[in-house]
């Protein structure tokens, strides 16, 4: 069975190669078929694998497929190998399935676009890279996927490369994530040097055996991996690229900048959880970074006018929840939230795409309104996806996954009251900006005429994701609401189980009630401020402007890093070192010029020279013996 593992990434990879080389020569219809069918096949294999794995789970709880030795020098022999365990199972299912739906959607969304086949080639390559990332048996293969998704993000943001703004956004995304990747790379060197392998399972075993908890080297290794993770997952301080990444086509935003790539950091930390457990300060830093990003991004989301930027900040904020969960030691809660988030965030982005297309590519929410009758499908998608995002109690997937994190914020190994309160505050803000968006876009007076209505390729993904956004939560219900933690149990062989470390005033039930209250407060505020009958005016005050600009971090980085570097570059036209050699050449030249003066054709001058030379030589011969 596990002999088929390689096929999961191979289908999209092959299809990407075909489309890249022959995309110009085949019709759009054929390109769409190849691009979508390859992901479909991949999803089928993934389902087949998952079924096989569940039917006959091996004793080691994992399948390993080794393809070949990549680069063997001495004892260091990393292999191109895949590893399939419950975590990989869930990741591959989500990636291929959501990926397939988004590809299907793109067939219609990108119809007639000049870069149609190019777009599908990049999307396929992205899915392949992401699958390699989650299936990698060692960190080096993981790094291939890691860089691959970064590359595809760059390519997809640059699909419409004629607009310099898109190019800038693409460059920024690639560069900022690559700063994180460099930290990750150094982390790899450190791990390989001290533990002698990059095989993830072996690495974790050796780390536990050789490094005491809290030792400096474990902290350094974990911190470096965290550096990579914050870059890819757009967390503080490398979060600035994500809002700009909304420049790409909307399906790209749905797939890359919401559902999959940005969660790569979450996956990495969950995968190497042993290492982070060995480095408590770093693990605590993960929680802090997650919490801070979560709140910061949520405040920014409140102040946005662009529908996609609201969703972008919301993504950042939700990944902040996942980071917080990881830092708290609630590993499986982070992956649970990853899964539900993948469903509802993909849904929201795809629905936003419908709205944007209907509005002639207008993205300003204040120029929309009253769309609930014109675009009922998008409306209901937003209601369902938005409610899941905001955590509408009991019926949406987002409620269950977020509730688990909130409860762990108190009860988890690293939990405390601060995280619990921050989590609830975040939930309130989430609910506020979500319903603000829905009220602005779908209620109130109709601002513009709808120009485009969705067809089947759009309807199927939206309806499917709506369903998943509701039922996706029931795979893991807390004790007080049904009490069937199927998801957490399933991951039990890989990730440490969720436990209650802090018993105390805050219980699971009270957390759920508080979360529901936060949801209601957020919703209430949104309704009061943006009620359908109220005039729609943009509020302008300094605080909102600061939030709108993402707390001015871009401004700060521009002045701290970008401008000094550009200044240096502008000052450096020519090579300074070459000045040494031109100097030598000039010196030789002027020496020759000076000597030329002596060659003046006067016999008397020459005779003097000869005499002087004779005297000097004679003097040397006498005195310097």
């Amino acid at each position: 069975m596990h002999a088929l593992l390689w096929m999961i990434p191979a289908f999209p990879l092959a299809s990407a190669a075909i489309l890249a080389f022959f995309g110009k020569r085949i019709s759009h219809r054929a390109a769409a078929f190849i691009g979508t069918a390859s992901i479909g096949l991949s999803a089928l294999v993934a389902i087949f694998m998952a079924a096989g794995f569940l039917r006959s789970t091996p004793d080691s709880h994992a399948w390993v497929q080794t393809l070949w030795t990549w680069m063997g020098v001495g004892d260091f022999r990393p292999e191109i190998a895949f590893y399939y365990d419950p975590v990989a199972l869930i990741m591959t299912l989500v990636i291929t399935f959501v990926g397939f739906l988004i590809h299907l959607y793109s067939v219609e969304y990108m119809r007639g676009d000049e870069g149609f086949s190019r777009f599908f080639a990049y999307m396929n390559l992205f899915v392949a890279a992401m699958l390699i990332l989650v299936l990698a048996n060692n960190l080096l293969v993981l790094y291939v996927g890691w860089e691959g998704v970064g590359l595809c993000s760059f390519l997809l943001l640059g699909v419409w490369y004629k607009d310099p703004a898109n190019v800038r956004a693409a460059n920024k995304a690639f560069l900022v994530t690559r700063i994180g990747d460099t930290a990750f790379a150094i982390g790899l060197f450190l791990l390989a040097t001290h533990l002698g392998t990059l095989d993830i399972q072996e690495l974790m075993r050796r780390a536990t055996a050789q490094w005491p908890a809290g030792s400096g080297i474990a902290i350094a290794a974990a911190a470096l991996l965290l550096g990579g993770a914050v870059g890819k997952s757009a967390q503080l301080p490398l979060q600035t690229w994500l809002p700009d990444a909304m420049a790409g086509p909307t399906p790209t935003s749905a797939l890359i900048h919401a559902a999959t790539m940005v969660t790569a950091g979450v996956y990495l930390i969950a995968r190497t959880n042993v290492l982070f457990t060995l480095a408590p300060p770093v693990q605590f830093a993960v929680a802090l970074i997650g919490g801070a990003t979560m709140l910061m991004a949520a405040f920014s989301a409140i102040a946005q006018h662009d529908i996609k930027r609201v969703l972008a900040y919301s993504t950042m904020s939700q990944i902040g929840y996942m980071f917080m969960a990881l830092g708290l030691g609630a590993w499986s809660a982070a992956l649970f939230h990853f899964m539900t988030h993948a469903f509802f965030k993909a849904l929201l982005f795809l629905a936003a795409g419908v709205v944007i297309q209907a509005m002639h590519h207008e993205q300003d929410m204040f120029r929309m309104g009253g769309l609930r009758f014109e675009l009922p499908l998008a409306f209901w998608s937003f209601i369902i996806g938005g409610s899941a995002l905001a955590g509408l109690p009991l019926i949406t997937a987002g409620f269950f996954s977020k509730d688990l994190i909130l409860w762990q914020a108190w009860a988890g190994p690293n939990g405390n009251g601060g995280f619990w309160i921050a989590g609830l505050l975040g939930a309130m803000l989430t609910s506020f900006y979500t319903y603000r968006l829905i009220l602005l876009v779908f209620y109130g007076p109709e601002e513009r005429e709808v120009s485009h209505r969705p067809g089947f390729c759009v309807i199927i993904p939206l309806v499917t994701l709506c369903a998943l956004s509701i039922v996706g939560g029931y795979v893991d219900t807390p004790p007080d609401f049904g009490g069937a933690p199927i998801f957490s149990d399933f991951l039990g062989s890989v990730l440490p189980a969720l436990k209650q470390f802090h018993v105390g005033p805050i219980t699971e039930l009270s957390t759920a009630l508080c979360a529901s209250a936060s949801f209601a407060i957020g919703f209430g505020f949104a309704y009061i401020l943006y009620a359908p009958w109220r005039p729609r005016t943009r509020r302008e005050d300094p605080l909102l402007r600061l939030w709108h600009a993402g707390w001015g971090v871009d401004w700060l980085y521009d002045r701290l890093f970008v401008m000094p570097f550009q200044f240096l570059v502008h000052r450096t036209g020519s090579d300074v070192i070459d000045a040494i050699y031109t100097g030598i050449a000039k010196l030789a030249d002027s020496a020759a010029r000076a000597l030329r003066v002596t060659q003046n054709g006067r016999v008397r001058w020459y005779a003097t020279g000869i005499a002087a030379g004779f005297v000097v030589l004679f003097g040397i011969a006498i005195f310097v013996r």
Binding site: G72, V73, K162, R178, I186, A192, G573
Partner: protein, 492 residues
């Protein structure tokens, strides 16, 4: 005997080009193709054959017996890999300059073939006198290639190239002669044989000075900072084939010399100077990458990336660690292909647009999508995307270096960020953005397709299955490294 033919075929081919090429522009191209293809096939046959131990093949004749000079060619996995690269890139550069060279076609191909013969000779000779002969043989035809078929300030560039290489080469010659004399004092007869000189005991002082003599020649070719300034001029003004041979092969002779001669001949001195050399390497990585970001000329930008990449090679050679040394070797091969390909792309653009100014380009993806796609592939190889050759080389260099000198490796890793900057800048300014000057250019011709696909395949091979090359290098890596690292350990 086959080794002699590997050198003779291009030499004879070159003369045939001259005689057949009078008034016929097509004949020299085909003769050159035939000669290099023949060599490539011979090398491929050697590659496919069973590997031996020690020297796999030898050709050894007495030449000037009074001084113990022998015409001694020898082959092992290391030289074989580089020969494969030499003839592969040779073939690519002939194909790439198919339409570019229209004047004195016969003489052009004569020079190209003789440079390649010189390079092949350098990779094969194990007699130091013979080595020096081939070292000089590379120089003169290259001088003509730049000076006659170059662009812009071609004479300046050619003379600068000649002076730098010639002066440093003379230092090496002095060191070679000194070694032979020292050997004569010890054993009574002269010898220029690598295997004989290897066992010559040297006083620390003599070792240091002679090592620096060799290093001068190799550091200029490599190029190591601060001896690199000939390179941007020469690479920029040379015709496409010249740039490909310069970047892809001539620079590798410097690295080859360090690994083949400096490490085994002067293990103590090499260990002693290792920190300084690695510092030069790191400086090259960062300085080269930074200068690349600052360039406005397409070929100059690519030229500076070579300085950066060869910095990794220098670090890897002196890290005193088998992993790093293997990485340097892979990087040599891979950089040859990726940078060679970038110069071919730059040449193709220059031929179409008659400019190399980045500011005058932009939005080319629209008019030449296939060319742009290929260019992007090679740019990504150059910035070290995993799965392509350069990543393997740089990763192994950094990993190996990290084990002995963590700070050096960390600093060099930062170079990857700067590399991303120049890669992105190149992509954004040349291929993306609006096509504001309304360029309408022909896309890749079938001949160029062949070149691009071959080079992509080479990079993928190196990136995904570098083992076939690593195994070729395995026997070589053991001996010199052990010497260097034992010194390194003893000093600590």
């Amino acid at each position: 005997m086959v080794l002699l033919w590997l050198v003779l075929i291009p030499l004879i081919g070159g003369i045939l080009c001259l005689t057949a090429g009078r008034g016929n522009a097509r004949a020299p191209r085909w003769i050159a193709i035939a000669a290099i293809s023949l060599d490539l096939m011979l090398t491929a046959t050697l590659w496919a054959g069973t590997p031996g131990s020690g020297w796999w093949r030898q050709f050894d004749r007495s030449w000037i017996p009074e001084f113990g000079i022998r015409f001694h060619l020898a082959l092992d996995g290391f030289s074989l890999s580089l020969l494969l690269l030499t003839f592969f890139l040779g073939l690519m550069s002939i194909l790439a300059s198919w339409n570019e060279i229209t004047e004195r076609v016969a003489f052009f191909h004569f020079n190209l073939l003789w440079v390649l013969a010189g390079i092949a000779g350098v990779f094969l000779s194990v007699d130091l006198f013979l080595f020096y002969l081939f070292w000089e043989l590379m120089l003169v035809p290259m001088y003509f290639l730049i000076g006659i078929w170059g662009h812009g300030r071609k004479i300046y560039a050619a003379i600068k190239f000649f002076l730098f290489t010639q002066i440093s080469g003379l230092l090496m010659l002095a060191a070679i002669v000194a070694l032979a004399i020292l050997y004569q004092q010890k054993s009574g007869s002269y010898s220029f044989e690598l295997d004989a000189l290897r066992n010559l005991p040297l006083s620390p002082g003599a070792g240091r000075i002679l090592m620096l003599g060799f290093f001068a020649a190799f550091a200029v070719k490599l190029p190591a900072i601060p001896f690199h300034t000939w390179l941007p001029d020469a690479h920029t003004e040379a015709p496409t084939a010249g740039s490909v041979v310069l970047a892809g092969l001539l620079l590798k002779t410097g690295a080859y010399g360090l690994i083949r001669f400096v490490l085994p001949l002067f293990p103590d001195a090499a260990g002693e100077f290792a920190p300084a050399m690695m510092a030069l390497g790191v400086a090259g990585v960062l300085y080269g990458a930074f200068m690349a970001v600052a360039q406005s000329d397409l070929k100059r930008l690519i030229a500076y990336t070579s300085v950066s990449h060869m910095g990794f090679v220098l670090i890897g050679i002196f890290a005193g660690n088998p992993t790093a040394l293997t990485g340097a070797f892979i990087q040599m091969i891979s950089h040859g292909i990726s940078t060679g390909a970038l110069f071919i792309i730059a040449g193709a653009l220059q031929q179409r647009m008659h400019t190399r100014e980045i500011a005058r380009m932009g939005g080319l993806w629209q008019t030449v999508p296939a060319l742009s796609g290929a260019a992007f592939f090679f740019i990504m190889a150059s910035v070290g995307l995993p799965g392509l050759g350069d990543f393997v080389g740089e990763f192994l260099v950094l990993l190996g270096t990290f084990q002995t000198h963590a700070v050096v490796a960390t600093l060099a890793t930062v170079g990857i960020i700067v590399a991303t900057l120049y890669g992105l800048r190149l992509t954004a300014k040349v291929f993306q953005g609006p096509n504001s000057r309304d360029w309408v250019l022909p896309d890749l011709f079938p001949r160029e397709w062949v070149v691009a696909v071959c080079m992509m395949a080479g990079l993928l091979w190196l990136g995904l299955y570098p083992q076939s090359f690593i195994d070729m290098f395995k026997a070589v890596v053991q001996q010199p490294v052990q010497a260097a690292s034992s010194v390194d350990l003893a000093r600590r």
